[in-house]
């Protein structure tokens, strides 16, 4: 069964469609593995064998009936626990939603069901996706399969550790400031944040509505492209979703060719502040691309200096409003205080007990930033920075087809290392945040192991808005250059979890 659980989704899809292996067999293999190993990685918050197998059985039946339609038909998948599912609890990593089973499926979940992809379970995350390590999950941190004492990145560390630990062949993440790409970099997996609006947010428990985007976490660029083709597209329920099609990502991966490619290196994100081993991996990638025939250009994005600061005003502002609905009135936790249980007191006690420290920190920050008298100085200024960053990127994309940066400043750090230092934690996302502020697509692909700690490093590829296909094309080029060197994917080198 090892072969099945270490195969890419594309390979599994081929095995299923050619009827060599059934969806039930593949789903069973992953369920066996995750039931055994999830206690080590804490990747999943909820899973239900019977439920997953029922979906796999249905997929097999459709195949037998000749009614299978999706290229990923029958391939099981893990879903981040901030997407609503009618057949599994949805907690967003928070105590305030413990036990809540939604009355409706997120659009992405509906699309997975329509593609007959059995859902293996719901993956862990920092509470309401606020964090870069999963240490802020109310249900304990997930652990990095490369080293169980280290973080798998966040907020989507459940999905990234499930991919790297072969507890799922595919996973869904959400990315507000790097929550797909940063965990991918920490675990040597592939994580893509599509253009804002490329994937419907309906049913994604909102962190910051103008920044949130759902995307794939996978073993390979092809797998990510296949998954984006399944989950993408216009949704009338999400008025911010893009009305026009972005084309086929899979087609773009197949046509990958380095000829004539102009690669931009962002001055502000290529030198200072990166761990030497991470920087070395990045330089190596640039050399490989140049050697393969790409033109390398340095571009200047001076406003990036203010990106983290602007992000930590816009995000908390929107989050403070998005999280107001968690008030105990209609769903979730209700705490009735002793003494005088007025509605105000019940709301306050519920939120006091139901929210963790990082959520409270950001609600307070955001409430302050939106307050009258402070609005212009904080939220208003942050929106101006956002515009400047968009202008910087627009300028940079006149010079280069894609922009490259290291995905993260460091490799995976130890659990507990940064949890009491919010600023240090926030700076993990310094390279990923600009893409969210500008709404452009970004992907992280593994580009080696840092020499000093032997842990994975990630390369981020940014493309202009709506040119997700271009992003996948270049990601595929980079992946191929490394596959030629390594002979296998980086994830193949993850230690044997069963032995750990």
């Amino acid at each position: 069964m090892t072969e099945i659980t270490s195969s890419s989704a594309a390979v599994l899809a081929g095995l299923i469609s050619s009827k060599q292996v059934s969806s039930v067999e593949i789903t069973t293999a992953f369920l066996d593995r995750l039931e055994k190993l999830n206690p080590k990685t804490n990747s999943y918050l909820h899973f239900n064998r019977e439920n997953s197998l029922a979906q796999a059985k249905k997929a097999d039946q459709q195949l037998a009936d000749g009614t299978a339609v999706s290229p990923l038909h029958g391939v099981p998948i893990a879903v981040k626990d901030n997407l609503t599912t009618t057949d599994a609890p949805t907690t967003a990593g928070s105590k305030i939603l413990e036990g809540w089973v939604p009355q409706y499926d997120a659009t992405v979940v509906r699309k997975l069901r329509e593609a007959s992809m059995p859902i293996l379970g719901k993956t862990n995350l920092d509470e309401f996706a606020m964090g870069s390590s999963t240490e802020f999950s109310a249900y304990g941190p997930s652990r990095n399969p490369w080293d169980l004492s280290r973080i798998p990145g966040g907020s989507g560390g459940g999905s990234s550790s499930a991919i790297a630990g072969h507890l799922a062949p595919l996973a869904i993440g959400s990315d507000t400031g790097g929550s797909i790409r940063f965990p991918a970099a920490m675990t040597g997996s592939v994580g893509a944040k599509p253009t804002y609006g490329a994937v419907s947010r309906y049913g994604l428990i909102a962190l910051a509505s103008s920044l949130d985007q759902i995307g794939p976490v996978t073993n390979s660029v092809m797998d990510a492209a296949m998954l984006q083709d399944v989950i993408g597209g216009y949704d009338p329920r999400d008025s911010t979703s893009l009305p026009n099609s972005l084309g086929s990502m899979v087609q773009s991966v197949k046509e990958a060719d380095v000829k004539g490619l102009r690669v931009g290196v962002i001055k502000q994100l290529s030198s200072d502040g990166f761990q030497p081993g991470v920087k070395a991996c990045f330089d190596d990638t640039i050399e490989k691309l140049a050697a393969a025939g790409a033109e390398i250009i340095e571009v200047d994005c001076p406003s990036f200096e203010y990106a983290v600061a602007a992000y930590y005003l816009i995000l908390p502002a929107e989050a403070s409003s998005n999280l107001a609905k968690f008030d105990s009135v209609r769903f979730g936790l209700r705490v009735t205080p002793d003494g005088n249980p007025t509605i105000e007191n019940v709301m306050a006690a519920t939120r006091e007990q139901g929210f963790g420290p990082e959520v409270k920190r950001r609600i307070i920050l955001g409430t302050y930033a939106l307050s009258s008298g402070h609005y212009d100085a904080y939220y208003g200024s942050a929106q101006k920075v956002r515009t400047l960053i968009q202008q910087d990127l627009a300028m940079a994309f006149t010079q280069a087809d894609v922009l490259l940066t290291p995905t993260a400043p460091t490799t995976a750090f130890k659990i507990g290392e940064k949890v009491d230092d919010p600023l240090a934690m926030y700076l993990n996302d310094v390279a990923t945040i600009p893409a969210n502020l500008a709404g452009i697509p970004g992907i992280s692909v593994p580009n080696g192991l840092a020499s000093e700690d032997g842990l994975p490093s990630g390369l981020q590829i940014l493309a202009p808005a709506m040119q997700d296909a271009q992003m996948y094309r270049v990601a595929s080029i980079v992946e191929k250059l490394y596959m030629d060197q390594w002979g296998a994917s980086l994830i193949a080198r993850v230690p044997d979890l069963e032995a750990l």
Partner: protein, 499 residues
């Protein structure tokens, strides 16, 4: 609560200048809600017209109802407003259990319509131009019912029930600029303005416009300043005043209350107030200061509404006749005197009379029925005359029978009573109650002879030329015929007998 002291209205007006500002909420009658597909339906079982979006469940998103935008633009155009080419929604953040998301999706600095005006004609014929600051789109909140406790308010209630059927129902809020110079007419102007708004949205059929159901609700802002003073006084805002009469009373009451306080050297507290129609006064609600902070910011879940010029023009073409123009046209066509017409307007009977005239009655007879007998009956039953179970067509049918001599006015009133009692169409009532006029002259003559026999001197008097003496005999005959005779014909017959 101690009764508040008031200055006489005349003294208050003499000393202070009144400034009013009116916010009117209009509930649109779209089929579905503002941001989801749920039915916009009054009176359904609680919490049956709900979905993840209007319940504010985690993960749900709003999507704008195009028809609601169209209605909002139509209202803006009817108020001579400019229409925004880029109207953004904004979140108004505050915690309250009737608000599913604990923020209201509204519009803040980019309303769909702005800078308009409407001319309001008072009873005296005086015309005021009321300046409109804006008309913006927003969603209604759910409905709270507080159970237990003495006040029916949330404070002191044992528990509260929430019905989210109304949550997300589309509203248009129309806000005037401060209205100066109405002087003693301020209360009347306020009520007349709200009536004008109600008539407009009703005639455009964008709202059911039933004030008693809260389809049209008014918040009345009132402030006073010493005559000649530059600076505006502190205002109070009386919330959710739900009838035209109450609006007039509220404004009048606030003028008198504030005048008393100011004259005594006191200060007006900026607050929201509530009007109690039964007790005839307002009472203090929540203190409202400029420190109230709703933390407005652009709604990130919605793209801005960007109506094209073509669409706006299309909507403009469909605008119905403005109520003011319609009133002028009808008064001329019907030939009503100003006083008569004002009666009609004040009793809000324009639609009924127009329909009765369309069904064949003369304008004057239609007016007399609705403002006379029917208004009296409605008043006796304490219902709105419009809500009486009789249609304009039935009124017209009864009038036709009078005109053709088949009914007398008196019998016709019995027919109306029968229709109101649910006895069927006028013809059925006439049949079942036996209300036909007695036209059998033999029966009439027999009754006349009987009456003359008991009053032998009458014949003599008539022959002497004292025709009025016939009256006594007519009365006796009508009594004999139980009213179902044509008194004029009876008179003729008596005079014939006397020859």
């Amino acid at each position: 609560m101690a009764k508040e002291q008031l200055m006489s209205y005349e003294d208050a007006i003499e000393r202070f200048e009144v400034v009013i500002g009116l916010e009117v909420h209009v509930e649109l009658n779209t089929v579905s809600k503002m941001f989801c597909g749920c039915a916009n339906n009054f009176g359904s079982e609680p919490n049956t017209n709900v979905c993840p979006t209007c319940l504010g469940l985690p993960g749900s998103l709003p999507a704008v109802n195009r028809k609601a935008v169209e209605s909002s633009i139509a209202i803006g155009l009817a108020l001579d407003c400019q229409i925004a080419s880029n109207g953004r929604f904004a979140r108004k953040n505050y915690f309250y259990p009737d608000l599913a998301k604990n923020f209201q999706t509204s519009q803040f600095d980019e309303p769909i319509a702005f800078e308009g005006e409407i001319s309001i004609e008072l009873e005296t014929g005086e015309v005021f131009m009321v300046p409109i600051e804006r008309a913006h789109m927003e969603e209604d909140a759910g409905k709270l019912t507080h159970v237990g406790g003495a006040t029916g308010r949330i404070q002191g209630a044992e528990y509260s029930l929430v019905d989210y059927n109304r949550a997300g129902v589309p509203l248009v809020e129309i806000v005037t600029k401060p209205i100066y110079g109405a002087l003693d007419k301020a209360p009347e102007l306020a009520a007349t303005y709200v009536r004008a708004i109600r008539d407009i949205v009703k005639s455009m059929n964008v709202s059911d416009a039933k004030m008693e159901r809260g389809n049209v609700r008014c918040d009345a802002n009132v402030s006073l300043r010493e005559k000649g003073a530059e600076k505006l006084g502190t205002r109070t805002e009386t919330k959710n005043v739900n009838s035209l009469k109450s609006i007039e009373n509220t404004v009048r009451y606030e003028i008198r209350r504030q005048a008393f306080i100011l004259a005594a050297g006191g200060k007006i507290i900026q607050e929201t107030r509530h009007w109690h129609e039964d007790r005839g006064h307002t009472s203090a609600g929540r203190p409202k200061s400029d420190a109230d902070d709703y933390r407005y910011f652009p709604e990130p879940d919605l793209v801005p509404v960007q109506p094209s010029k073509e669409w706006i023009e299309e909507i403009r073409q469909t605008l119905s006749e403005k109520p003011a123009l319609r009133r002028k046209r009808l008064q001329t066509a019907w030939g009503f005197a100003d006083l008569e017409f004002r009666d009609v307007l004040n009793s809000d009977l324009l639609d009924e009379i127009e329909a009765t005239v369309s069904a064949g009655a003369s304008p004057q007879s239609a007016r007399k029925w609705w403002t006379g007998e029917l208004a009296r009956l409605a008043n006796a039953q304490q219902v709105a005359v419009q809500d009486l179970p009789i249609t304009p067509e039935q009124v017209a049918a009864i009038q036709r029978l009078i005109d053709s001599g088949e009914l007398t006015d008196r019998i016709a009133r019995d027919v109306v009573a029968g229709v109101l009692a649910g006895e069927g169409e006028p013809a059925e009532v006439i049949e079942s109650r036996g209300l036909k006029i007695v036209t059998d002259e033999g029966a009439l003559i027999a009754a006349i002879d009987k009456a003359l026999a008991s009053q032998p001197d009458v014949m003599e008097k008539i022959r002497d030329g004292k025709l009025q003496a016939a009256g006594a005999v007519i009365g006796a005959v009508m009594q004999e015929m139980r009213g179902q005779a044509d008194a004029a014909r009876v008179r003729e017959l008596i005079l014939e007998r006397a020859k």
